[in-house]
């Protein structure tokens, strides 16, 4: 079956531009997470969606970061006015329910020049 799909796989953007990253979770998975992985670092939690509940945005590093999810389907992570420190791999994961093991996509590698 299809796994978690992320697009684009790579994105190069100029400092100050806005970017939008997309995540298609596994069908039927109610929980969706976004993580950021900087080079040589572990995974940094950004935001969590569970069904129709209010998302947990506690990991978003600044108000330049936002994310949306429509129901239990696609999610988009938007970064406005990108900065060089935003360069990282952005990983999306879904799971059947809260605290079930995560299924990760292959990530979007964002490079801000």
């Amino acid at each position: 079956g299809a796994g978690v799909s992320q697009s684009p796989s790579n994105k190069v953007t100029e400092k100050g531009k806005d970017v939008e990253l997309r995540c298609d979770p596994i069908s039927g998975h109610t929980a969706l997470y976004w993580y950021r992985q900087r080079l040589g670092q572990g995974l940094e939690f950004l935001i969590y969606f569970q069904g129709n509940s209010a998302p947990d945005k506690s990991g978003l590093p600044s108000d330049r970061f936002s994310a949306e999810r429509t129901g239990e389907s696609v999610s988009t992570l938007t970064i406005q006015r990108t900065q060089q420190e935003d360069s990282a791999v952005y990983l999306c994961a879904s799971s059947p329910s809260w605290r079930s093991p995560l299924h990760f996509g292959n990530g979007t590698r964002l490079t801000v020049t």
Partner: protein
Amino acid sequence: TQLLEQSPQFLSIQEGENLTVYCNSSSVFSSLQWYRQEPGEGPVLLVTVVTGGEVKKLKRLTFQFGDARKDSSLHITAAQPGDTGLYLCAGEGAGTALIFGKGTTLSVSS
């Protein structure tokens, strides 16, 4: 803030050697997961440990959860080049998010 510290950060060994990777915290976790990540891919779940003192085996990999549920270890017997990758531990704490350590990068050469 709940943190997970992994050691060593890097490990380079020869095929056939044994190794142990550690994941430690001062906080208690309700469960702990181990993932392996290969370059250009997302992490893939290896195992979940839930009970203090629990030991789980996955072929040549042995996972242990500490009695106090604050630490875990991963032991690999007779490592093979296919074991090469980034090993991440992740704990379920008080919040909604899974908390990840920084990982151990393992390189096994033949």
